[in-house]
């Protein structure tokens, strides 16, 4: 990026996952000893999931009524957002929150699975007459759905709930489109800060893996992993697939000048971000490969890579092409596929990767290898630069470079 543009600092992290809550818990779980994933293989058999750790939502969401009106993905997201605001020293600061711009990556909300099951039974066992079936559907829909649950289902209502619960009241935008929504959200905030169009952002997403209705859409295109747990890099031999992981990840991104004015220290800065449609699509440029190559030619020294690859194919093979390219350019890179540890969290996955990268840069070290495939080598020495990649299970690719902030 233009050296005259303001630096984009990460000044707050909020992370909840199967491994726990907050940066410290994640650092401990992923960098001390041999990291192990938390996986539940029975609840959604044959699909394993990484279930959310026990979280006390009332710590971030005071009013019971608010908790009740949200779907679980929204509770996860509102909680993570609250952690990030607290971490950045913004929680409760009405003036700053009133100026904070919110950018969220979200998919669909959650359906009433029991109501859907009842309706399916009635539609399947009842009349074949279209008109009569329509009447049955109308009656059942009107009697089975709680009105307020509709709001829990709207994509932009994670943002809406963050506004209400935490008082974030600058602007509010929600990006959609599976994994790439997460890249778009971070990219929107980074570009607006670097372009002088905003100073203070809360960015992130949330994903609830413990849902059959959400898994269904991914399984329809054959993207889920229907076997017992294996690390991301080891799934290709069985056709590939991802294991869903419950996760909420929010970042406070701030212009350097704004953060310095309020005396806030950064974890790291985001110095570069790119996205594209990805391999297998037409048009020019196809993806972010050219941008990554150009970036890599300017980099020296050790580079950590937090790969957002999911395990789904052919996306995971495309990711390996990137890593090979970086190796061939002579970068001393060490890769970690954080989906092995956290599961794949779709819209929230890239923000989670950026959060983990910010944390690693602030500790000046990369995480321990997440598997024993040999692809993830043991870390060595000081590290001040981590590349985060985001890759859609069926489309899109992107990356961000997270580096030590100059003033640290």
């Amino acid at each position: 990026m233009d050296p005259h543009r303001p630096e984009v600092w990460i000044t707050g992290l909020g992370l909840v996952s199967s491994l726990g809550e907050g940066p410290d818990a994640h650092w401990a779980a992923l960098s001390v000893g041999k990291p192990g994933a938390t996986v539940d293989e029975t609840r959604f058999e044959p699909y394993p999931v990484h279930p959310l750790a026990a979280i006390d939502f009332s710590k971030q969401i005071e009013r019971k009524g608010d908790i009740r009106q949200m779907g679980q993905w929204q509770r996860i997201g509102v909680h993570a957002a609250g952690l990030a605001l607290e971490d950045a020293g913004l929680a409760g600061d009405e003036e700053l929150l009133g100026k904070t711009d919110l950018v969220v990556a979200a998919g669909n909300g959650e359906r009433d699975e029991a109501a859907d099951a009842n309706i399916l039974e009635a539609l399947t066992n009842g009349t074949e007459n279209t008109q009569a079936r329509g009447s049955v559907l109308n009656r059942l829909l009107q009697t089975s759905f709680r009105p307020t649950l509709y709001l829990a289902e709207l994509s932009n209502l994670l943002a809406g709930n963050i506004q209400i619960v935490h008082g974030v009241a600058g602007s509010s935008r929600t990006y959609k489109g599976e994994e790439m929504a997460g890249v778009s959200a971070v990219e929107d905030a980074v570009r607006r800060i670097a372009g002088g169009q905003g100073q203070l952002f809360l960015v992130g997403g949330a994903f609830n893996a413990e849902r059959a209705d959400l898994g269904l859409v991914f399984e329809l295109c054959g993207a889920l992993w229907p076997h017992s747990f294996k690390p991301v890099w080891r799934r290709a031999e069985d056709g590939g697939g991802f294991i869903m992981g419950s996760l909420g990840a929010f970042l406070v991104l701030e212009s350097e000048t704004h953060a310095m004015a309020r005396g806030n220290q950064p974890y790291a800065r985001i110095s570069c971000i790119h996205s594209g449609r990805g391999a297998g699509t037409s048009g020019s440029p196809r993806g972010a490969t050219e941008a990554l190559e150009a970036l890599a030619r300017e980099l020296h020294g050790p580079l950590g890579i937090l790969s957002g690859v999911s395990g789904a194919e052919p996306a995971t093979s495309h990711e390996l092409e990137w890593i090979t390219m970086l190796d061939e350019l002579g970068l001393q890179s060490q890769v970690r596929a954080y989906g092995t540890m956290l599961g794949h969290s779709v819209e929230a996955h890239f923000p989670a990767g950026v959060a983990l990268a910010g944390l690693a840069v602030s500790k000046q070290a990369l995480y321990e290898p997440f598997d024993d495939t040999g692809r993830e080598e043991v870390r060595e020495g000081h590290l001040d630069r981590v590349l985060v990649t985001g890759r859609g299970h069926w489309r899109g690719e992107g990356f961000a470079l997270v580096e030590a902030a100059a003033k640290q």
């Binding site: 699909y47 919110l102 979200a106 669909n108 699975e113 859907d116 099951a117 309706i119 399916l120 539609l123 399947t124 279209t130 329509g134 009447s135 559907l137 109308n138 009656r139 829909l141 009107q142 009105p147 709001l151 289902e153 709207l154 994509s155 932009n156 209502l157 943002a159 809406g160 506004q163 209400i164 974030v168 009241a169 602007s171 509010s172 935008r173 929600t174 990006y175 959609k176 489109g177 599976e178 790439m180 778009s184 570009r191 059959a212 269904l216 859409v217 399984e219 329809l220 295109c221 054959g222 229907p226 449609r277 699509t281 037409s282 048009g283 859609g392 069926w394 489309r395 899109g396 992107g398």
Partner: protein, 440 residues
């Protein structure tokens, strides 16, 4: 700072390529629109300015037992089988073609900029769920989602269901029109159309691109969507006759009417547009947005965020409240929206608001939800060009609490320089645009 204009036809001579804040001026060089009134801006404009309604009784699905039976569905796209993503894609594609033909930018298969797309919720609908549930290869059917997942695992439904991923509409359009980079899908609920335009404006002002394709589409009138809005008591139940169902700003207004449509804009930097000799159709002078932290469906009782969004748009445009001479209202026809919109406008424009004409396109086309902000921005530009303000129809009983000149029932000739177009959505989404005919 402003550079002197080098113009090839002299018409733009002396106009600044940058605005009062030194940013590139963003112009419209092509736009397209589809609503229940028809295909294309000319057909729509003719109907709109003659006070014609596109609302009708729903025939797409049985409406037995429903409190609301009218909508502004778009039934003329020739789809073999309806689904929200299929209709949303078809309408967006049509509107984009119209915008590109007018703009003459790039070619049909290669647009020289990114796609910003506002799309409606995309998920499996009942016909697909039922087909999965009933798939015959299983001897013993399991319960609910277990059965659905089992059918999905068979892999037999892949081709049919690919389009129910959120990114599918944007991906299809990016492929068709060769837009650059990652196609962006967004939602700010019923403010989405305005947000899509705003993202394009921001990207051009940053210098990220010279051109952007900003599109909003919504084809999501199906039984479940209608019932969900109905359960929130948001919809008009004034079903007969259908053309009287939507009554924005009238005392007897009873809710909005769901509708479908799409709007597409080619935005360019003024500099790039003039350099290639493009016809300038309008200027997006300013954009403003504010989040509401008050309630999920209701607006702040003092209208603070709406006022903030309007004020932000004026500030961004460098336009004083007194320079707004027409308002294209959000005007949904719900009791709350119309009152809050009036109070907020009054707070910004002052007592003058009673004399500034304001009309709601939704009285005729219904509430096109995700697409509304883009469609209404298109009609705002047409108001400027044609020097005609479309009416707010069904305004038979004025509401004494909302003393506005709503251009009641008949269109009116008027010269307009700056239009304010408002869009508000559930989840505390507020966005406003200031549109003008030509660069200042």
């Amino acid at each position: 700072m402003s550079k002197p204009q080098q113009s090839n036809d002299g018409e733009q001579m002396g106009k600044s390529l940058t605005d009062d804040k030194g940013r590139p001026v963003v112009v419209v060089t092509g736009f397209g629109v589809i609503t229940s009134l028809g295909r294309g801006k000319n057909e729509n404009w003719k109907a709109l300015t003659s006070g014609q309604s596109g609302l009708h009784h729903i025939t797409r699905f049985p409406t037995d037992g429903l409190r609301t039976t009218v909508a502004g569905t778009v039934d003329f796209m020739g789809l073999e089988t309806y689904s929200a993503p299929a209709l949303s894609t078809a309408m967006a594609s049509d509107a984009i073609v119209e915008a590109l033909c007018q703009s003459r930018i790039g070619d049909r298969a290669s647009f020289p900029g990114p796609l910003y797309l506002a799309t409606p919720p995309t998920e499996l609908e009942w016909p697909q769920r039922k087909a999965l549930f009933a798939s015959p290869d299983e001897e013993s059917r399991e319960d609910g989602y277990k059965q659905l997942l089992k059918a999905a695992r068979s892999g037999r439904f892949k081709d049919v269901f690919d389009k129910f991923q959120f990114a599918s509409v944007a991906e299809t359009l990016a492929e068709e029109f060769g837009t650059q980079g990652l196609p962006i899908s967004l939602s700010t609920a019923c403010a989405s159309g305005a947000t899509a335009i705003m993202l394009g404006v921001e990207a051009i002002r940053r210098g990220d691109t010279d051109a952007a394709l900003c599109v909003a589409t919504d084809g999501s009138v199906h039984a479940e969507a209608l019932i969900r809005f109905s359960l929130l008591s948001a919809l008009s139940t004034q079903n007969d006759p259908p053309h009287k169902a939507s009554r924005p700003f009238a005392k007897d207004r009873g809710g909005f009417v769901m509708a479908e449509g799409a709007g597409a804009f080619v935005l360019e930097s003024y500099e790039a547009a003039t350099a290639r000799g493009a016809q300038i159709l309008g200027v997006v002078r300013g954009c403003g947005e504010r989040a509401d932290e008050f309630h999920r469906t209701r607006t702040h009782p003092e209208g603070k965020p709406i006022i903030g969004a309007i004020q932000a748009a004026l500030d961004d445009a460098g336009v004083a409240p007194g320079e707004i001479d027409y308002v294209n209202a959000h005007g949904t026809g719900t009791q709350e929206n119309d009152k809050m919109e009036y109070l907020s406008l009054k707070a910004v424009l002052g007592d003058r608001i009673e004399r500034v004409p304001i009309s709601s396109n939704k009285s005729m086309i219904g509430h096109t939800l995700t697409a509304a902000g883009a469609i209404e921005a298109a009609f705002s530009l047409m108001s400027i060009h044609d020097e005609t303000l479309p009416p707010t129809i069904n305004y038979d009983l004025p509401d004494p609490d909302i003393p506005l000149d709503v251009v009641p029932n008949r269109s009116r000739r008027a010269r307009v320089t700056n239009v304010l177009s408002n869009s508000f959505g559930f989840g505390g989404q507020n966005a406003s645009l200031v549109l003008s005919g030509e660069p200042a």
